[in-house]
C-alpha cells in the first residue's frame, strides 16, 4: 500500500512539474497578466478608487472577494484553536 501511495505521489509530482513548463517566465512582459491585468491596475487605480497605494486597492477592492476569504480563514483558524484549547472544567 505504501508503494502504491509513493507512486501516486510521484505521478502527481511529475504531472505538476510537466505543467510548470507551460507557465510564463518570471516577470515575463509578454505573459497574459502583464499584458492586460497589471497595466489596468497601474493606470486606473487613482482614477477608479482614489487610493495611491496600489497594493491596498488591489487587495481590498479589485480582489476584495479574495481578501474576504482570507479573513474567513483567519477567523476559522482562531475558532478552531479555541475549540481545541479551551477547557470548561469549572
Amino acid at each position: 500500500m505504501k508503494i502504491f501511495a509513493f507512486f501516486v505521489a510521484l505521478l502527481t509530482g511529475g504531472v505538476l512539474i510537466y505543467g510548470v513548463e507551460d507557465m510564463p517566465g518570471w516577470g515575463d512582459p509578454n505573459s497574459a497578466p502583464s499584458l492586460h491585468v497589471s497595466p489596468r491596475y497601474i493606470e486606473k487605480t487613482i482614477e477608479e478608487t482614489d487610493t495611491p497605494d496600489m497594493v491596498t486597492s488591489v487587495l481590498a477592492d479589485y480582489r476584495g472577494y479574495d481578501t474576504l476569504g482570507e479573513t474567513t480563514v483567519i477567523f476559522t483558524a482562531g475558532v478552531a484553536c479555541l475549540l481545541l484549547l479551551r477547557r470548561d472544567n469549572q
Binding site: E47, T51, T56, A60, G64, V79, L82, L85
Partner: protein, 149 residues
C-alpha cells in the same frame, strides 16, 4: 501559566509603551491607502499590544479587562463588518463588494470606493486583533485547565 511578575521596571515601561503601540496600530490601519499597511498588519500590531499587557501583568489581572467570550464576539464583528459592507453594496443594486454603490454622502464614486476600502480594513483589523489575542490566551491558559471568560 503566566503569573504576575513583580517588577516595577517592566510594568512601567509597558504602561508607557502600550498606548503608543496601539496608536501606531490604528495609524497603520488608517494609513493603508497611502503607505504599506492595512487591516492585517495593523490588527496584528494591535493584538501584540494586548499580548504585551498579558505578559507584563499576568493572566489573572488581564482577564478582568478581556474575556475569551468578548474576543470571540469581536472577531465575529470584524468579519461581519466586512461581509456586511459587501451585502450593503448588494442591497443598493451593485455587485457584492462593489463599494461604489455604498450610500455615503460623498461627491465622487472613487472617494466612496476609498471609504469602502477603509471600512473593510477596519473590519479586518478588529477581526485579526481579536483572533491573535484569542489564540494567545487559549495557549497561555491551557495548562491551568480553566477559562472563566
Amino acid at each position: 501559566m503566566i503569573v504576575q511578575y513583580e517588577n516595577v521596571i517592566i510594568k512601567t515601561i509597558c504602561r508607557l509603551l502600550i498606548p503608543f503601540i496601539q496608536l501606531f496600530a490604528i495609524y497603520v490601519i488608517m494609513h493603508g491607502h497611502y503607505s504599506p499597511g492595512g487591516g492585517f498588519q495593523g490588527g496584528v500590531i494591535l493584538g501584540a499590544s494586548f499580548i504585551l499587557l498579558v505578559i507584563a501583568y499576568g493572566l489573572e489581572e488581564s482577564r478582568r479587562r478581556m474575556s475569551l467570550k468578548a474576543l470571540t464576539i469581536y472577531a465575529s464583528v470584524g468579519l461581519f463588518i466586512y461581509s456586511g459592507i459587501g451585502a450593503v453594496c448588494l442591497l443598493m443594486g451593485g455587485n457584492y463588494l462593489d463599494y461604489g454603490r455604498l450610500p455615503l454622502p460623498l461627491s465622487s464614486i472613487p472617494t466612496i470606493r476609498a471609504m469602502g476600502i477603509l471600512g473593510i480594513e477596519i473590519g479586518v483589523g478588529i477581526g485579526v486583533m481579536a483572533i491573535m489575542i484569542c489564540i494567545f490566551l487559549g495557549i497561555a491558559s491551557y495548562e491551568t485547565g480553566g477559562e472563566n471568560g
